[in-house]
Amino acid sequence: MNTRRRDVIESLEISDLGASRRAFLRNSGGLVLGFSLLGPAALAAGRELPLDTSVAALARKGPFAAVDPARLDAWIAIHPDNTATLFTGKVEQGNGSPNALLQMAAEELDFPYEHFYLVMGSTTETVDQGPTYGSMAVRYAGPQIQHAAAAGRQVLLAMAGKHFGVPVEKLTAVAGVISVAGAAGKSITYGKLVGGKRLDVTIGASGETFGMKVAPDAKLKDPSKYTIIGKSVLRKDIPGKTTGEFTYMQDVKVPGMLHGRVVRPFGVGAKLLSVDASGLKDIPGFVQVVREGNFLGVLATTEWGAIQAAEKLGSRLDRKGPDDGLAKWSQWNDLAATDEVWDAVRKAPGKPESVAKHGDVDKALKTAAHTLKATYLTPFETHRSLGPECAIADVGKDKAIVWGGTQMPHQAQRDLAELLGLPVDKVEVRWVEAAGQYGRNGLEHVMADAAIMSRAAGRPVRVQWMRWDSHGWDPKEPPIVQELEGGLDAQGNVTAWRHQMWVPTFSDTTLLPSELIGKPVGKRNLGSAAIGYEYAFDNAEVSSHNASRVGVITAWMRAPGQFETTFAMESFVDELAAAARQDPLEFRLKYLKQPRTIGVLQAAAKRYGWQPRVAFSAGKQRARKVTGRGIAWVNRDDSLVATIADVEVDQHTGEIRVKRVVVAHDNGLVISPDGMYNQIEGNIIQSISRTLHEQVTFDHAHVTSRDWASYPILRFHEIPDSIEMVLVNNDPKFKSNGGGEPSTCPTAAVISNAVYDAVGVRLRQRPFRPERVKAAMDKA
């Protein structure tokens, strides 16, 4: 096991109840304390890491000092057995991007990827490189890490020059070994050269998080010499994840910890009136209730005890009302119910944002030969990670350690410090991977739950949400209303385009537990248009009404806002193409000028075998199952994606099956093609799921879709027969942009357009559940 982390943990212990952590670790029968940060292969090998690495040094500086990015040992440690560790503030959320960062480091350090391990996220071990979101890990953190690794290589060469007494020019570094040119046998491994010492060297850094520049003087490799970047490597975390040896956040245990469960209000804004804890005393293991304002939780020595106590207080799937349970809540019924949501969005106060405005749209509409108008509606959605949110907190009087799977450990450190009224350097966040996130789910919130309960109990507390807590209370992707208007002249040219949006915030970072205790931490920001408008229409207006919170906490979910705006924009372009009796691809290409946009559309069309024709040209067909094709594209932060799909519609039931998907993907140089394919497949499947099935439902009190039965997602029998992927501009000439989200964006429009092509019906409201599709067909 990893002695380095073990010792650091011991030295920073807070509420030790007398149980020696060392003894605990010895006797814990495989229970692991945050060791998952190492590569699972290293864990499996039971490999020892030396104590004297950057972390131990940091621990000496002060309890929870921030990591200085200007130091080489902030990024890289070389171990005597010629293995190495990369430290990054970016974290794994299931999409493999930190693995790509490791490849980039291995390339520039000239070190074998197989022997290079990763430490992610923990605030005393890693540099704050900004949250892991927005498809920005490789794009922004990648160059920072490349520069640090390149600087490391220069340092090692200088050390070897001294060691052999030769000029650096005479040395070559290959796969972790430095050799003297022309001197057979004169070589040394990095591990031996460093001799277990820290890489105690200043490499320089300026700026912060995404904009940080590291080791500005380091010379990067000529991309033509790349041997690791661009190769599909095996992801380090996968073997352990297939055998149960991998440690997720949900698997971490801390000595002396209690198990906590939360009991959320019945109505979203309800007040906690009373709690009768006398009925909990007989539950084996029950310890105490934690009540602070409208925050309610229970603690027990076992998970089962905590679950039973929470259930008695009212935490269960089928809670009937604010009085149902030993906790009594006030009546609160101010929420917009499912069908009232979009009206609430339109009426929400907000600020206008203009994306594009040129020409005179009103005038052009008046003189158009043909005009079209349509409203597109998208619902609340939930991230709904398969594993519920989980965290552990150990809060003392003057410092705190919180274990969590957050996508933003360094921000969480600041937020938790504010919540607990502690200086930032008295709070440490130890990051451990949780289930896949797809944005800001409840992982930050559950850390606050654990912190509040640990503070009350004076002991470490592990909190895991129940399924209904996750579905019911994680921050949601907001519903969006979009109205579009277009005009065509007699020749079928677009003369007018108007796209108006009403967008509630998708960056409300208020921590729910902090709101419940009456001391809100976080910000209620405004929504934004989240669109890349590239069509060259003569008269165009694209604008957004950006609102704050509408109903419940909403925060970013994979391609926030842009999944919705692409749906409306690319479906409505299709409506215009159909009205103009033109092929939907050729119609788009007439108004697009950017070569990379045109490039992905053409690449997708080529792979698909696209033949020009007007959509729904076959007219209404008698067969029960009818197939159509759809196309759409997106530019999400300079990553271009075009998607084409064949979709089958069952005219009897309204059921939609996506059969064949073709994706052309241009995010520049791809670090690991197989990793990219894995991400694209994931984006496509998840966005099909969101398009066909997903909608959070409400009554006036709260979310009513609190399990997988009421919030269905795509199942195996519904997956496409094939997803074919083409990487465009996968070349060092094009810098590496993001791949975590972009291919989500076109899917809803692709399916909507394909359904039109098949049955002549436009679907403008997600999700496209069979009853809605059937109703639309019956009306047509």
Binding site: R235, P239, T243, G244, W304, L386, E681, F716
Partner: protein, 157 residues
């Protein structure tokens, strides 16, 4: 009152002092330190907690621990290790059929029991067998391919 329950898990015998009614999942995870089976929903809806009971894939999140007494429980750990993976586990590694991996226990345990009863399934049969298991990351295509790969290689059940 806690009582002692005798369990046979992955071929090993354990006497566990536990509250009756405790679900098997919590005993495996908290008392025996077996983290292969995961808590996903506690409602038997997602499959993340799947283990084998006398060779059959069951949902351990809803099974009272007493119901497992005297029967053979197998968890993901019982199939293989990183050093010596089961051929089905190896097929998941070869296909890189993991994103976050939280559902993968359920996928492998369900597929393992399924392949025993149907060693040479069609793609549709595989999809049908896994239809009760949820994956949120969208790893479905690779999961199906991994099971096909294992079946093709004649992975011994």
């Amino acid at each position: 009152m806690a009582k002692t329950v005798h369990l046979k898990v992955n071929g090993q015998s354990h006497d566990v002092s536990i509250e009756p009614g405790t679900r098997l999942l919590y005993v495996l995870r908290d008392n025996l330190g077996l983290h292969g089976p995961k808590f996903g929903c506690g409602l038997s809806q997602c499959g993340a907690c799947t283990v084998h009971l006398d060779g059959k894939a069951i949902r351990s999140c809803v099974l009272p621990v007493e119901a497992a007494e005297g029967r053979a429980v197998t968890t993901l750990e019982g199939l293989g290790t990183v050093a010596h993976p089961d051929p089905l586990q190896q097929a998941f590694i070869d296909e890189q059929a993991v994103q976050c991996g939280y559902c993968i226990n359920g996928m492998i345990m369900t597929a393992k029991a399924f392949l025993r009863s149907n060693p040479h399934p069609t793609r549709d049969e595989i999809k049908q067998a896994l239809d009760g298991n949820l994956c949120r990351c969208g790893t479905h295509m690779r999961i199906v391919r991994a099971i096909e790969r294992a079946a093709k290689a004649g992975a011994p059940a």
